[in-house]
Symmetry: D2
Subunit: 215 residues, 4 copies
């Protein structure tokens, strides 16, 4: 049976992906903080001792709370360097993806439009996106597709925390609403279900026509 | 019944999309050159007299044969300005998209990496991609999603014509093969079937990890 | 003596470039509408009969007035296709750039962030930017540098027309002011004066840190 | 007298910038490894105790030797996280840029086209470019311009090391040569000398028309 590991699978977008994959007869391991904490490399390594092989891998993790640049400490940088970059790197260096598999990275639209409030996320998610792009070419040789999804404003707990007045904010969006986590969940499921492999090495904005830049 | 118009639906990627959509109970009008010739604005206008409303629209058309810049004539520019830009513009100015619908543009990876041989396509497909991006915001208000798919090397008659030695070329690709038109066909189908609406205003490379630029 | 042709050299950014180049002992032909009208291909061809060779070429022209997409006529599209695209193409197909020369394209930030109001400019300036990118590689062989400058909000008559309340608008800008045409003029001059040739095939945002996208 | 700090100013591009700035009566501190080692945060902090204010700052540092992804160790990641990211961050958090000043970041074309061999550089230089973009908006308020220069193949010791047969490689380049460090040096000088401030928040490819992507 096809096996999927969904990091951060207990809530938000991770949970939605997890739920979607379960509908198509995939054996899903939706991890929570207690299974693996990507900000802690020891936790990552422990996890990898047991989970060292999969067909589908969803690289997904929350970001830090907003913090102005001038107040970010060395400790903060190092913590999120682990959480948003080095944890994922360590996973990819140690896990075996089975031929014909998929890796989805759930990054963020801040990689294209870095954001003052989310400056830590902007930096490290972009850094990992570079690594992921490079690796997509190697994985391609084993028919493994690497897809970077860069969500815009999606209706998660985190967005509810970040945005002061969600209802007012929604009025400013082209679709007059936040995206639904299930839309991303179903997107991931649909790619896999339809065995679409040539979609790889790509970053896909998922933002309801909200961004202004052309590509 | 949901209605789809697939331009250039008789061959290549257009046909694949057409075939995929038919599998999910959509009433598909797969046009051929005799139904509408987007290089001829009169033909476009005639077509629009009868076909002035749809749920799903696939903007798809072949490009010109390779021609070095210095030899492209004023007539050539104007012809392909019609075929790759003004024909599509005229359609969008005159056709009604029903609420909750979809517009897919099949452009090309040359919009991000313009190509000496395909300089005409590079220019006009990019021009229309700009228009399409702008309009995605208006269409969003009626819950209509606009998705620009930018295919790389896909196995169509046209690619077979453009590439001298296809077999050798395939060896240079990360996936060691051309993309299958059905992969794009199924992708389009999957988006619609799963009612994924928040994917809009986006350009999606579909190139099997072949491109090198990060976004 | 080094020769420069500055299209649209009688006002705005074109005039500023023209004025800057004159300070470094360059023989500048700053054209006005009566010398060449790029929206009229016959005018372009007449101009080229006499001006068929230069060391430095500045491709610069105003754009159309804002017009909503639904009201743009076929005549409008064709007119600005000439003015913003085909006129420049015709020039590059027929003028000889001397070895070691420079071509500067003054495009606009709308090529990266297409704009509802300036949809015509967005489309055709992007189209020409694609052509210009392709040609930069050919020109490089003769040590000719091609530089695309994409200005943001610069203090020209046109900006004053486009923006309702300039003073209020300036407060929203990172630098709290519009750019000065002389900044672009001096930039162009500085590149030439210092014989910087390896800056080529590049699009340079010139917008006072106003854009949000990373590249 | 205007003061400039040029990191990595003893060789390559840093030295060329240093040399150029000295020609226009700027008081240049061209640092070498013994003044500040950005891979060592203690060294950075020591440096900042004495050098805590400047008019012009050039953020420049070499990258790691090529290393395949699978062999990069946790120690490597952390070292270059310091050298290419956290060192620069620490500097910007602690140094005072005088109003009307300039910060130039010398990054690399790998931020747009990440590279298997230079995967570490690709990641961390991109990460810092995100931070730099965000900060450009804050600095703009004090009329300080932030310019990210992304060099392609420039004739430095490092390039000579990285490329096996430089002469053969040069034949593949559009300009048939590597870029000269002085071209970047003079570019930086020219911007400052001409008081061009509105060029900010921008990433400038400096690659002799070598890249293929449009922006």
């Amino acid at each position: 049976m096809t096996k999927a590991i969904v990091l951060g699978g207990s809530r938000g977008i991770g949970k939605a992906i997890s739920d979607s994959l379960k509908t198509i007869d995939i054996d899903v391991f939706a991890t929570s903080q207690k299974d693996i904490d990507t900000s802690n490399l020891n936790s990552v390594k422990e996890f990898l001792k047991i989970n060292n092989e999969t067909d589908i891998l969803i690289l997904n993790t929350g970001g830090p709370k907003p913090k102005p640049f001038s107040t970010v400490t060395e400790e903060d940088w190092n913590k999120y360097h682990n959480q948003l970059f080095l944890g994922f790197v360590t996973i990819l260096q140690n896990i075996k993806l089975n031929d014909g598999g998929y890796i989805f990275l759930i990054s963020s639209n801040v990689i294209k439009e870095p954001n003052e409030k989310l400056i830590i996320s902007s930096a490290y998610r972009a850094a990992f996106s570079e690594v992921f792009k490079v690796l997509s070419k190697e994985y391609a040789q084993n028919n493994i597709s690497c897809i970077n999804i860069a969500p815009g404003p999606i209706n998660t707990d985190r967005t509810q925390e970040l945005i002061e007045n969600v209802e007012e904010f929604e009025k400013t969006l082209p679709m007059k609403r936040l995206g639904k986590p299930e839309e991303i969940g179903n997107f991931v499921k649909a790619i896999i279900e339809n065995d679409i492999k040539y979609l790889s090495g790509v970053t896909i904005n998922f933002d309801g026509a909200n961004s202004n830049y052309i590509f």
